[in-house]
Amino acid sequence: MAQVRVTVDGVNYADDVEPRMLLVQYLRERLGKTGTVVGCDTSNCGACTVHLNGQSVKSCSVLAVQADGAEVLTIEGLARDGELHPVQKAFNECHGLQCGYCTPGMIMAAVDLLGDNPDPDETEVREGIEGNLCRCTGYQNIVRSVQRAAQMMKPGASVPTESPAPVAGGN
């Protein structure tokens, strides 16, 4: 057993863990942070993406002990004081999710992407979230969500969040 001290979503934890325990297993099985999900076993799908000291990581590719002394942010800690993060709002407004399974990882990856590139074009979004797989949406509305979030997060931006998203269809 090895000891790990870690701050997750603003709460301090100290636990003894098996050295081989993955961060995602620690989050789900020990802390009950089941909002972060597992979609594969080869670090391809990105469903388990969280932030480790502010950088997005696939938590299946990090050992729990590697997070010792670190700050972890999961999807469950992204909203602050009941206020959704702009990326969360944008995913809702632009219908950037269907079954929702890839969504926690997709949102955490998108938040990090926008930190690096606050105004990505479509290609930059598509390449930026390439490590996160979605089987439901065809990605189009995810791309739209990330770009809408970028507009909402611009300094001084006041994008009306209740306006209906533009959609195709209907004559």
Partner: protein, 825 residues
């Protein structure tokens, strides 16, 4: 892209989804998040060999491992005689092997379970599984469908005496719904003004690859056994658990909590689910199983895998006269819940939107030593649509016609609806001209044809191809009597109930079971319109057999077209009861009560009661008519009178690098007629996702087996789902000829994109290369396949690939002998 004006009714409003609130915050409850106190964890020890005799199982080391409660074979659990159900015996003499919970004696595919380990933690179970020593004596694998049917072939199930599961035939001549195909072919062969065209197409093996791996938790504590499962079909799972294990149905509660996608891949009744029930009963503790992704790709049912031999006859003026369809469909090692019927669902769609006077469909299902196949998004209809849309292009080439003009000549004109087709289905509504005109205008079809000519003339290394798919489908499964005529093991109705709560809110219970489709939002919109209550006041309950005791679940684009109509029927009953109570309280005749937007008013007066007031009055029950019960609640079961027939025109601009074989999707335009749209935001999302899956079949995905029957790309490293970077944005829009077969005029949209898009892409790839002599590229149209097709068409040599691993149906088309692990995109 057009922006819709917000309608005043809920129907047609682009509501953002209710269910998102929990999904974007991680406040989710997928099955693997459920771990009751004392839960034990099951891990399945699977055969690494496709076909083998089990000579010994040594459990001793595993049993001694830390945390292990037990290691069990089928014999240890006393379940050797238990067979998993197949609910669709397509012919009376169908050959049906027993599908065991765990293999006993012989394993029939790589990935089949042989034993299970139960331990205190998932890690301990998995560690101990590595210690179970199983010895196998390998048998010859059975991989190629045609070889499997040949005399002297190794038999997957020797006791059946054949590898043929069944042969199912529909002949429009014999059925009296059309002419004889044999006569049509004979006439065409004898007529110099007719042609007979034959093509072979291959539907590669695909994996549904829902994002949430399958999982179940079985809690035997308490009076009812509770089963949480990542399933599309909680109601069917409950009934089938009773059929399989004999647990009384009333002692079972099945809950499908949040479910992370299905696409047909979660309609099964799983050996793992049944094992968890058996183990929970034996150990008196909750037992949980969650598969790894690699297990999922290996052992969860696959889809497609057909060889299609198509013969079309036509007059040289372009008029089609007959279609003869011969399919071989790979069932894999066993029959899934509806596996043998999946190809049959395509039987009625090969004629598509065209006025064929004669059609014959013959499908032979074949057993092989591969993972079993069953429903995957579209189930039978993508295969049919691919074949007909591909061969319409081939016919156009043979006749020197523009492929769209040839389609127009043969399709059902809008004034001909309702139209009864050669297979006896009645298409209620449609307007192929309208969808096509809009799609061609958006696409600039003529402009792209000019560009194509210019590039050909210039000899550009990147050539442009235009792919067309003018598809239709039958969805809204299904009228129960039709299912009965096909020997399907259930009806096709759906149930709904509405509870008017004392506080004026509305609970709606549906038997449809959502796993990403947005039922909670779309059904709330329907109820808000029907009852005149606020959208926010409607709560949709589903996916729990104690809350929603009656239902037939979600598949076949049926949730709206069947489940949604059941809700409308229940709302009608609520309104009828409320009207009676309103008349009583307002001291008016029931005939004088008018209902509009949630208000019951006495005609010609300002007297009225809101539906919420009436719900409260019914709850209080202090004053109500003598001939009614004090309740507005109602339930309904709706059995559809017909399928619905969405259609659309899909156009793809494909760019193919003739030096490298690399294929790029430049533009994708589609105009779908899905009838009235409840929520355009959700409908558009369904189209996008469907397109991605259909395009992935054309370009990216294939389950590859090696010559020993081992799945060689069973991880997300090499089973290449498209990422965001692999796809463009689609230009999708809708038109509407409302269905006349249901009161909402809806048609269904869940499978449309997948059914339509695959042939559009492949037709585009081949169109780009046609002038180089290329006539066929098998799916997925990878760079290697395209490059080889170009070289072969140009008479240049390419390295030979061994026939036994490259033949159609072997599932090995992507295998390069120098790179046997398969291509990485």
């Amino acid at each position: 892209m057009t922006t819709t004006a917000e309608p005043t009714t809920e129907l047609g409003k682009a509501r953002t989804r209710k269910e998102d609130a929990r999904l974007i915050t991680g406040r989710t409850r997928y099955t693997d998040a459920i771990t009751p106190h004392g839960t034990l964890h099951m891990f399945v020890v699977r055969s690494p060999i496709a076909h083998a005799t089990i000579t010994s199982v040594d459990k001793s080391a595993a049993e001694a491992a830390p945390g292990v409660l037990g290691v069990f074979t089928a014999a240890d659990l006393g379940v050797e005689a238990v067979g998993l159900p197949c609910a669709w015996p397509i012919t009376p003499d169908m050959k049906s092997p027993q599908r065991p919970l765990l293999a006993t004696g012989t394993v029939h595919f790589a990935g089949e379970g042989v034993a299970v380990v139960v331990a205190r933690t998932p890690a301990e179970a998995r560690d101990a599984a590595d210690l179970v020593e199983i010895d196998y004596d390998p048998l010859e694998p059975v991989l190629d469908m045609e070889a499997a049917l040949a005399d002297g072939a190794t038999l997957v199930h020797p006791d059946l005496g054949t590898n043929e599961n069944a042969t199912w035939v529909f002949d429009s001549g014999a059925a009296g719904t059309g002419g004889s195909v044999d006569e049509a072919i004979a006439a065409a062969e004898a007529d110099p003004d007719s042609i007979v065209l034959k093509r072979r197409f291959r539907q590669q093996r695909l994996i549904p690859a829902f994002m949430e791996p399958r999982s179940c938790v079985v809690d035997p504590t308490g009076e009812q056994i509770t089963v949480w499962a990542a399933t599309q079909v909680p109601h069917i799972l409950r009934t089938m658990t009773t059929v399989t294990l004999g647990v009384p149905e009333a002692k079972l509660r099945v809950i499908a909590p949040d479910v992370g996608g299905g696409f047909g891949g979660k309609i099964g009744v799983l050996p793992e689910e049944m094992l968890c029930v058996a183990l929970a009963q034996r150990l008196n503790k909750p037992v949980k199983w969650t598969e790894t992704r690699s297990e999922s790709l290996l052992a969860a049912h696959h889809g497609r895998d057909q060889i299609q031999d198509i013969t079309i006859t036509a007059k040289k003026d372009g008029t089609v006269t007959g279609l003869d369809v011969h399919l071989l469909a790979d069932m894999g090692a066993y029959l899934g819940l509806v596996g043998p019927g999946v190809p049959i669902l395509g039987a009625f769609m090969f004629n598509a939107i065209y006025k064929f006077p004669a059609l014959k469909f013959t499908c032979t299902n074949v057993f092989t030593t591969k993972t079993l196949t069953d429903a995957y998004r579209g189930a039978g209809r993508p295969e049919a649509t691919f074949a007909i849309e591909r061969i319409m292009d081939e016919l156009a080439v043979e006749l020197g016609r523009d492929p769209m003009d040839l389609r127009k000549q043969n399709w059902i004109a809008h004034e001909e609806f309702p139209f009864t087709t050669v297979v006896g289905l009645t298409y209620d509504t449609g307007n192929y001209e309208q969808a096509t005109e809009q799609a061609m205008a958006t696409f600039d079809y003529a402009g792209l044809r000019r560009e194509q000519e210019e590039r050909r003339a210039r000899g550009d290394k990147v050539q442009l191809g235009i792919g067309i798919s003018t598809f239709t489908e039958m969805c809204g499964l299904a009228p129960s009597r039709v299912l009965g005529s096909l020997a399907y093991g259930a009806g096709g109705w759906e149930a709904a109930s509405i509870r008017m709560l004392a506080t004026g809110k509305v609970e709606v219970v549906t038997g449809s079971s959502a796993h990403g489709q947005g039922h909670e939002t779309a059904f709330s919109q329907i109820v808000a319109d029907q009852l005149g209550v606020p959208f926010e006041d409607v709560e949709i309950l589903h996916g729990d057999t104690q809350i929603s005791p009656k239902g037939l679940d979600t598949y076949g684009s049926r949730s709206l077209a069947v489940g949604g109509i059941a809700i409308v029927k229940a709302a009608d009953k609520v309104i009828a009861k409320a009207k009676k109570l309103a008349a009583h309280l307002l001291e008016a005749s029931e005939d004088d009560i008018e209902f509009n937007a949630g208000q019951f008013t006495v005609r010609g007066t300002d007297k009225g009661k809101a539906i919420q007031e009436l719900a409260f009055a019914a709850f209080m029950a202090h004053d109500y008519p003598e001939d009614m019960e004090p309740s507005l609640d109602a339930e309904a079961v709706y059995d559809p009178e017909n399928f619905s027939f969405p259609h659309g025109t899909h156009l793809a601009a494909m760019e193919v690098d003739t030096e490298t074989g690399k294929v790029a999707l430049r533009r994708y335009v589609c105009v779908d007629d899905i009838g009235n749209v409840v929520n355009p935001l959700i409908a558009e999302g369904q189209v996008h996702g469907g397109l991605a899956q259909g395009i992935a079949q054309a370009l990216f995905e294939e389950a590859n087996y090696d010559d020993q029957g081992t799945l060689v790309n069973g991880t997300f490293v090499d089973y290449t789902l498209p990422s965001a970077a692999d796809l463009p944005s689609f230009e999708s829009s809708t038109v509407s000829t409302p269905s006349t077969s249901n009161p909402l005029g809806v048609k269904g949209v869940g499978e449309a994109g997948t059914i339509a898009s695959t042939p559009a892409i492949v037709n585009g790839v081949i169109d780009a290369l046609r002038h180089l002599g290329v006539t066929e590229v098998e799916m997925p149209t990878t760079s290697q396949r395209v490059w080889r097709a170009i070289q072969e068409a140009q008479g240049r040599s390419t390295q030979e690939t061994p026939v036994d691993t490259h033949s159609p149906g072997a599932g090995l088309g992507s295998i390069d002998p120098n790179n046997p692990q398969g291509e990485v995109q």
